[in-house]
């Protein structure tokens, strides 16, 4: 009985509503936070930041956003790449047109703008459902990418059509541009991640979350019960868009620094984020993180093992990587269709009963 919840009684509904009602979990959470804020910044270097931490944090935000839409509200979207692009381009336009405003707000506003765009593309969800909707969101994906590629205003008429993040600072410390320090970019993203996670958690445990889940589980019944499907779906698209936009903005400004829209925000991105939430667990905040971590780490690990240790040719490793990622996705789905989050829950359940099997 490693993991206990017995003896952990609640005396008020407020404590029962907590994010981590179980003491054990709460402790774990505080430890993670402490390490993230107080330890990692001091030991992180460029490689770790760029190969692992930044992508992990940024994808985690996108995954949170998509999970709200897909996992909680049941509206499958394949437009994530396009929406991230909106965030990125919004951020670029803001950074270049209002250099005096702090980048922090640029990122937030980019999220807001993306939320709006997302809502527009979410409107058809009122009529179109299931896979039809999933495919329909590809319209957003392709259209947005085309738009940003085509309209020079978005890339400030640069000859190549690429956008480059100029240097911007927070408290005098650069967080974008070439002269950044690993710890600064890391902390900058971390703050967004933590805030996003809290917001997502709050929304999903309250009425908004219930409405989304109701729509997801049975939209007709939900409407008859009194859920306004328009509002519920639209709010899910908006919130999801906000997160995805923030992540797109960070992805461009902090992580890549320069972006070519079709490359960075193509359909592969949409799938990648979708994978994250499926592998992590649909309808789970923890799952969004787990999925992002898994899919960021996996290729890095495979590469280190294949190329650096075994010394195999890069192409064979790259092909093997596809095989392994594909195989793992299938394996995961077979073992636990509800993702890493569910695996974690079951493990906890088993630990709770341990050493008894049932």
């Amino acid at each position: 009985m490693f993991y206990r919840e017995a003896g952990d009684f609640k005396t008020s509904y407020a404590t029962d509503n907590q994010t981590f009602p179980i003491k054990f979990d709460r402790l774990g959470y505080f430890t993670v936070m402490a390490v993230a804020f107080l330890v990692i910044p001091f030991i992180i270097n460029d490689y770790w930041a760029n190969a692992i931490f930044l992508p992990f944090l940024i994808y985690a935000i996108a995954a949170l956003g998509l999970n709200i839409l897909v996992g909680y509200c049941g509206q499958v979207s394949l437009g994530t790449g396009g929406f991230m692009a909106v965030g990125a381009y919004a951020c670029y336009k803001l950074m270049t047109s209002m250099p005096e405003v702090n980048i922090f707000f640029h990122v937030l506003i980019s999220g807001g703008i993306t939320g709006l765009v997302c809502v527009i593309f979410g409107l058809p969800s009122l009529r179109i459902k299931g896979f039809y909707l999933a495919v329909a969101t590809l319209a957003a994906q392709f259209f947005l990418v085309w738009l940003f590629n085509r309209v020079p205003w978005f890339y400030n008429y640069s000859a190549s059509g690429q956008i480059n993040a100029p240097e911007r600072t927070v408290f005098g410390i650069p967080v974008t541009g070439p002269n950044t320090e690993a710890w600064a970019t890391y902390l900058f993203c971390l703050v967004f991640v933590v805030v996003s996670a809290l917001i997502a958690r709050n929304l999903t445990r309250g009425m908004a979350g219930r409405k989304w889940m109701a729509i997801r589980d049975m939209d007709i019944a939900a409407e008859i019960i009194g859920v306004n499907p328009l509002k519920a779906k639209i709010s899910a698209f908006a919130v999801s868009g906000f997160f995805v936009g923030v992540s797109g903005a960070l992805f461009f400004s902090v992580y890549l620094g320069a972006v070519e829209v079709g490359e960075a925000f193509g359909i592969n991105k949409s799938f990648l984020v979708l994978f994250m939430i499926i592998i992590g667990g649909l309808g789970s905040i923890f799952g969004s993180f787990a999925g992002a971590a898994f899919l960021v780490l996996l290729p890095v690990v495979l590469k280190v093992v294949g190329v650096d240790w075994l010394g195999w040719p890069t192409d064979i490793v790259a092909h093997l990587q596809l095989v392994i990622v594909g195989g793992l996705i299938i394996l995961f789905l077979i073992l636990e269709p509800h993702g890493l989050a569910q695996l974690w829950r079951v493990t906890k359940q088993k630990l709770r009963l341990w050493p008894f099997p049932h």
Partner: protein, 334 residues
Amino acid sequence: MPEQLVFAMEVFLNGLMAGVLYALVALGFVLIYKASGIFNFAQGVMALFAAMTLVGIQKGQVPFSHLINAVLGTHIHHFGWHVHSLLAILLTVGVMIFLAWAVQKFVFRHLVGQEPIILFMATIGLAYFLEGFADLMWGSEIKTLDVCLTANACLPQGINLAIDEATYNWFGYGFFIDNLDITATIVAIILVSALVIFSQYTKQGRAMRAVADDHQAALSVGISLNFIWVLVWSVAGFVALVAGIMWGAKSGVQFSLSLIALKALPVLMLGGFTSIPGAIVGGLIIGVGEKMFEFLIGPMVGGATENWFAYVLALVFLVFRPQGLFGEKIIERV
């Protein structure tokens, strides 16, 4: 006749032809969706895999030679023989049936009763897997595909002169119609008729539709899901091979072939995920739609609209008919 109108007609016809090629890919999707409710994202990669296998067999390539060479340090590449196209096609069909069996055995058998989105994800996983696997097996360089009955009776390609001439005589402007497209159209017509008959009028076809509706119930009346699925995946594999040949002949056999799946999706939406004729009609509408749009509006907005236009067109359509043109009506009851 005014020039623009003649041009438009040519574009229209070419749109129809392009539509047929899209439909060929879409057909594979429809089959599997109909029989298992699985939205098989791997269909495009299956086409790639089929085409690569065909070329590999034709040219007598040693499968996995790169991997073998890398691990064992050997230098093997070719068996040194050449296989006749027809035989190679037969062998490839065999490989596709084996693939169907393997997919069933190792993937979907374990996912019976899961939600559609999970199955969908599994097919994306499968797509990745197959993509890497195909490359490992046959190498990732571009391959040329020639399907020939005899040395000089190959899949025809290039402008059809008869049409060019005839239209020139009528309109004073010869239309461009690609021979390959004409072939594809004929093949598609045969394929679709056969499939419609199969699904609508045979016992296995009926069982297939039953499985699509309710896995559990199908099991309970003794329909073997495994068998039906192997069957449909095999048929879908065959359709993928046909699509792979047509597209491969056009653009060479290489990675991008798998992206044709993306061309088929709007076709599916428009035609309805469950309708075989829908795939054809949807394909035609999308083909004509995007080519005409690129012709008429494209120049004003800077071109390259085809990628998104098909989707937007399908989207607009769906708003009015959420189950697609021919899709089964979504039964909504409480």
